[in-house]
Structure formats: structure tokens, C-alpha cells
Amino acid sequence: MSALDMFEIGKRVEIGSHTFTADAIVAYAQKYDPQPFHVDEEAARNSMFGGLCASGWHTTAVWMKKNLEYGEMRDAELKAQGKTPPVMGPSPGLSNLKWLRPVYANDTIRFFNTVTSARQRQNNPEWGIVELFSEGYNQNGDKVVEFDNAVLVRM
């Protein structure tokens, strides 16, 4: 069985959800993205966003956290079935990232992944590359974020 067989093309899975507190939004933004609408409730109310909202990079960092947690659950299930979990490598990057709506303080975002391709690398056959389409939706069912990303998997 190839390591890539564990990635089912086209299947959309919910990888987890996360509530963005005002404190966490401000803490992230003070370090990395201190624009007024990410660090100051009052300034955010008067901005075009109308309320304190998370840095877009905070939203995607939380996706990564959920992505890893999901990976651990998947690996535990594979082990329980007597299968060997895939060995994941680094990621080459992301593309088509869209911040479609603000993530406001106290919003709960549900994240989803869909595997779009899984193939052996031509130039480095010890590794495969798995491509994902990832999405996040808020508690009203509105999509807030989507992007394409990829990760290497040891063959």
C-alpha cells in the first residue's frame, strides 16, 4: 500500500473548530499584525469591519493547529486498524488564499479539508505531494476563509 493511498481524493472532512476570543485576537495581532481593527475594540468599531476581528494570518495559523490535531486522530485510527500512518514532511506553501469575511471576536470557525491530488514527486521520488483545498465557516454558515495548500509525504 502506498502512503498516498490514505488520502482519498475529493473527500471533504471537518478537521475541527475553534472559537476566537478577543484576548487571543489581540495577542496575535500585537505581535504580528497590529492594525487598529485587530488590536483595539473601539478603533475596530469605527473601521470598515465594524468590530474587533482576527488577523487573516491568525485564522490560517489556527487552521494549521486544527490540521495537526486532525492528523493525530487519523493516525490513531490507522494504528487501531493495524495500518502504518503516513510520515508527513514540510509544506511548499499556499495559494489562492481568500479572506472572504472578517473573523470577529467570539466567532467559532469550523475548518474543512478536501484532498485535491496526491502523487509521487517526479524529481524526488522518496516523497509524495498531497494537495488540499481548505475552508473555514463561521457559526452562521458563512465562509470566512479558503485556500489551496500542500504537504510532502514520505513514500
Binding site: 496575535y28 487573516g56 495559523a61 494549521m64 495537526l68 489562492n96 488564499l97 481568500k98 479572506w99 485556500f147
Partner: protein, 160 residues
């Protein structure tokens, strides 16, 4: 954004002319910061532990790609965004992590304006497309990215 608020900023939509470059950094990357970020968002061994990093194909304690994005954002903030009429960004066309960023590296780079246009749907606001490049202290390219940001116009059509 009020006319007074716009007037206080160094960079408005009109200042992002195609070809204009903005220096980014320097940004020293500490082991503590790599571990702190990874502990919260990307707790994989090569981002948490020097020995595990050395054993990985990244070759040392290395920053999460999402941490590289965060540091790039901070460099954009300090380079021009915070002193601009920024109205947020709708997204990022791409961000490629070309080389590991290791503890002790110092990042620098530049943003280049690719294009600028007014938005018909949002009077007084325009979309500016940038490319960004980050390098380490050896001049090696570690990250390339392109994104669009929204900026308020200085003139709002009232005067030229």
C-alpha cells in the same frame, strides 16, 4: 476613513505606484519565538526542538511556515502598512516557502508594487497588488509571496 485620518498617513493609494519598492526588516528570528509560535499553532517536532529539527529535512530548529507568514506580515506592517491608509486585504495569491528559516537567522526583504487600481464598487478605495521577497542573512531567498491590499485614496476625487 475620514479625510483627516488619511492626511495623517504617509502612504495613501496614490503613493503605491507600480515599480515602487519598500524595504522590509531586518527581523531577527530567535529560537524562543520559533518555539512559542509553534507551541500554539504548529507543534511539530522540527519547530519545537533543536535536535528534532537537525534530524528533519529542514536541518535545524526551523520556523513554521505560518510563522514565516506572520513575520512577513510584521515586516509589511513596520515597512509601510501601519503608516498607510490600509483597509485590510482580501487575500494572498501565493506564498512559497523556499528554504527553511532557522533559529538565529535574520530576515530582510522587499515589497514591490505590481499594479494599482481604483475600485468602482468602493469609491475612495483602491486595490494594490504587491509581490514580496524575503531573504536570510546569506542573501538566500526563503519566501516569495504576492497579495492584494485595499487602501484609501488621499484625494477621493475632491482635488488633484
Amino acid at each position: 476613513m475620514s479625510t483627516q485620518a488619511v492626511a495623517l498617513k504617509k502612504y495613501a493609494l496614490e503613493d503605491f505606484t507600480p515599480g515602487r519598492e519598500f524595504e522590509l526588516g531586518p527581523y531577527p528570528v530567535s529560537a524562543d519565538e520559533i518555539i512559542e509560535f509553534a507551541s500554539e499553532f504548529d507543534p511539530q517536532p522540527m519547530h519545537l526542538d533543536e535536535e528534532a529539527g537537525k534530524a528533519s529535512i529542514l536541518g535545524g530548529l526551523s520556523a513554521s511556515g505560518w510563522h514565516i507568514c506572520a513575520m512577513m506580515m510584521r515586516m509589511l506592517i513596520d515597512g509601510y502598512i501601519l503608516d498607510s491608509t490600509s483597509q485590510g486585504a482580501p487575500g494572498v495569491e501565493y506564498c512559497n516557502w523556499k528554504r527553511p528559516v532557522l533559529a538565529g537567522d535574520t530576515l530582510h526583504g522587499k515589497s514591490t508594487v505590481l499594479s494599482s487600481r481604483s475600485l468602482k464598487s468602493r469609491p475612495g478605495i483602491g486595490a494594490v497588488e504587491f509581490s514580496h521577497e524575503l531573504f536570510n542573512q546569506r542573501g538566500e531567498l526563503v519566501c516569495t509571496s504576492a497579495n492584494t491590499g485595499f487602501f484609501a485614496s488621499r484625494d477621493k476625487g475632491e482635488r488633484k
